[in-house]
């Protein structure tokens, strides 16, 4: 079974980074990665239906246009069950509290610890497969 993950970040090189970091999982066909460079784009592609469906969303907080927190709010209204992991450069308590209040599953700080992220993704995969 292939699980879709949507990564929302305004940095285009994020795509290369994630594809290379998750190359083993991608090669094995466990994961499919979708990318969006803004909150608006992400909402659009989610509503148009991604294949395979995104079961996990990773979003940056500081982005031009719609901020990561605004995007999170919209997403919570439209797809309340999709887990969302917020990524931020500012590991301050204020951002963490707000993100968790709105309904983020987890908050990780940059630089992203991919070992930890992979474990997180694995646990989601395990849950989904079990379900």
């Amino acid at each position: 079974m292939t699980l879709g993950i949507l990564v929302v970040d305004d940095e285009p090189d994020i795509e290369d980074l994630f594809r290379q970091r998750f190359r083993a999982e991608l090669r094995r066909g466990e994961l499919a990665l979708h990318f969006a460079s803004s909150g608006e784009e992400a909402l659009k592609s989610l509503s148009s239906g991604l294949q395979p469906e995104a079961v996990l969303v990773l979003s940056d907080i500081n982005m031009p246009g719609m901020s990561g927190l605004d995007f999170l709010q919209h997403l919570r209204a439209e797809a309340p069950h999709v887990p969302v992991i917020m990524v931020t450069a500012y590991g301050d308590t204020e951002n963490r509290r707000r993100a968790l209040d709105i309904g983020a599953t987890e908050l990780v700080t940059k630089p992203v610890d991919f070992v930890a992220l992979k474990k997180l993704v694995q646990s989601v995969i395990v849950q989904k497969t079990a379900a």
Binding site: L17, Q20, A89, D92, P111
Partner: protein, 564 residues
């Protein structure tokens, strides 16, 4: 009352009555004498009718109603008279006549010749002043009418006047001169050598502990110089005089004494006011300089934090891709492994060589990326908001903890290092409200710098008797506490001290220091805690860092000021 000789007196019937009569006679006699005033401290005990009349008062009661005998003394004579009265009460009596001034009831001045005695009044000593209207001196009484007029004229002058002939003998002087110098009346009649007057001055200690003959001779010579003899002098009555010498056509001299006490006082007041104003100006300039430095530091800190934020993301990519490239290269080499057999030896050597270089380069990129990452993290500490919490903290405990931590950390890197740690922690410092995390960071920073400085000096000088020493002092002063850290390390030049708190300034070799430690410490102490950061040092002798913190401060988080 005046003519008491004609009073009818009944014969006394008892010893007591006889004694009373004796008292009456005594009182009557005292009343008829030239002005008589008895007083002690602020109380006027007795005033004779004659004196009341001489002073222009209606009754003796109105004199006795005055707040004190000093009320009669003109302002410029208060100093001497107080002194003279005090001496008299102690029984130190001067037998000579003094020439003095007193206020009359209408405020005008009356000259008197005064005799003074200590008397027993009601079982306690009191001052008895006998005042006679100034009489012409016996020597002057013989003068022809014209000269008597001249004497009256100079007596009326407000300045002291002394006239000397060409041989420096006294020709005459006015009452003011006698009063200013407090000379007994009649002691220096015309013909007296001025040297004798000066010798008298010396004998009563006017010139201090100096040889008599030389001093008198030198002063006599100055009388012969036209213009200024001794421009300023304090005289026994506590006034400052401007003494001038005007030679006369016949070879004599007129020495005038102007009372410049008031002018001097005003000058002194003006000078003091000027000095105060200058001190305040200096303080303002210093404050302004400090403010500019603070602003500069804040702006630099802000810039630093901004740069750090901007660098953080690209740096993450560099580090991530460097790491990934390493992994990818390993995978690539693994894939190509089977092909190695198809290569000739020379090519295989080249391939392995290139692959090795590539791996080496990627390791270097990762190493330097990590280094840059550490710098960025330190830079971000400048703008980190709301990290630490304000807590009432035992400052000595915090100092002790930071010291131990720094010492162990330093020794962990350099096993052969040892230092003497002298603690002078004042228990009175007690608890202070501060952000313990941040202050601890400042202290660790300062201790580590000190260890670095003493270690460096030890390694450079090679002197086995050199003892690396840190002295840590805590003190409390009113609303402030301070921590002073002094080391006997390599110290700093003034040029280094000047740039000490500038971000990225470091004296350590590239890669060893970020140059952000003291800049951040300054931010914490000065901006966050509203304290002071002082540095002093002599190269190759010592360096001393003092942080002063207010006991209570409005809680501020680091970087808060910048958000405005």
């Amino acid at each position: 009352m005046d003519d008491f000789t004609n009073l009818r007196v009944s014969p006394p019937q008892s010893v007591q009555e006889a004694l009373d009569l004796g008292h009456v006679y005594h009182d009557q006699l005292v009343a008829a004498m030239p002005g008589l005033l008895v007083h002690r401290g602020d109380t006027i005990l007795h005033c004779s009718a004659t004196l009341a009349r001489l002073l222009g008062y209606e009754t003796t009661e109105s004199v006795q109603a005055l707040p004190s005998a000093m009320a009669l003394v003109p302002e410029d004579d208060q100093h001497t008279e107080k002194d003279v009265y005090a001496r008299c009460l102690k029984g130190l009596i001067r037998s000579q006549v003094r020439r003095i001034k007193r206020h009359r009831a209408d405020g005008s001045i009356q000259w008197f010749d005064q005799l003074m005695e200590s008397v027993d009044w009601g079982g306690q000593p009191a001052v008895m002043e006998m005042l006679t209207l100034m009489r012409p001196l016996a020597a002057n009484a013989e003068l022809p009418h014209q000269e008597q007029l001249l004497q009256a004229a100079i007596d009326a002058m407000p300045n002291g006047v002394l006239m000397l002939d060409s041989d420096l003998n006294v020709e005459g002087a006015n009452s003011e001169f006698y009063r200013l110098w407090d000379y007994p009346v009649g002691m220096f009649p015309p013909g007296t050598a001025v040297g004798l007057i000066l010798t008298y001055n010396h004998s009563r200690g006017d010139y201090g502990d100096v040889p008599c003959e030389e001093t008198v001779a030198a002063l006599c010579n100055r009388f012969r110089v036209k213009g200024i003899y001794n421009s300023e002098r304090r005289v026994p009555n506590g006034r400052t005089l401007d003494i001038r010498n005007a030679p006369r056509a016949d070879g004599g001299y007129v020495i005038t004494h102007h009372d410049i006490t008031d002018r001097k006082r005003i000058e002194d007041e003006l000078r003091q006011a000027k000095e105060r104003a200058e001190a305040i100006l200096k303080e303002l300039r210093e404050t302004q300089r400090q403010l500019i430095v603070q602003e500069k530091m804040a702006a630099l800190g802000q810039l630093t934090a901004g740069i750090a934020h901007e660098l953080k993301n690209p740096l993450n990519f560099v580090n991530n891709f460097a790491e990934l490239s390493g992994e990818l290269l390993d995978e690539l080499l693994e894939l190509l492994e089977p092909l190695n057999d198809h290569l000739d030896d020379a090519t295989r050597v080249d391939v392995n060589d290139l692959a090795g270089s590539l791996q080496g380069n990627l390791r270097k990129i990762a190493d330097h990326g990590r280094r840059a990452d550490n710098i960025v993290k330190s830079m971000l500490a400048h703008s980190r908001g709301g990290g630490g919490e304000w807590q009432t903290t035992d400052l000595n405990g915090l100092v002790e903890e930071a010291l131990t931590l720094s010492y162990h950390a330093f020794r962990a890197q350099d096993r052969s290092f040892n230092a003497t740690l002298e603690r002078r922690l004042d228990a009175a410092v007690g608890e202070v409200k501060l952000v313990p995390q941040d202050i601890s960071r400042v202290l660790v920073n300062l201790f580590t710098n000190s260890f670095y400085a003493v270690r460096k000096r030890q390694l450079i000088c090679g002197d086995s008797t050199y003892k690396p020493t840190l002295m840590i002092t805590t003190e409390t002063r009113e609303s402030y506490v301070s921590v002073r850290i002094r080391d006997n390390g390599i110290g700093m030049s003034p040029a280094v001290i000047e740039k000490l708190f500038t971000p990225f300034f470091t004296t350590k070799p590239t890669g060893e220091g970020t140059g952000l430690g003291l800049s951040l410490s300054y931010d914490i102490v000065v901006h966050q805690h509203r304290g002071r950061f002082d540095v002093s040092s002599i190269e190759n002798e010592h360096a001393e860092f003092t942080i002063t913190l207010p006991r209570s401060v409005t809680a501020m988080s680091l970087g808060e000021r910048r958000k405005t």
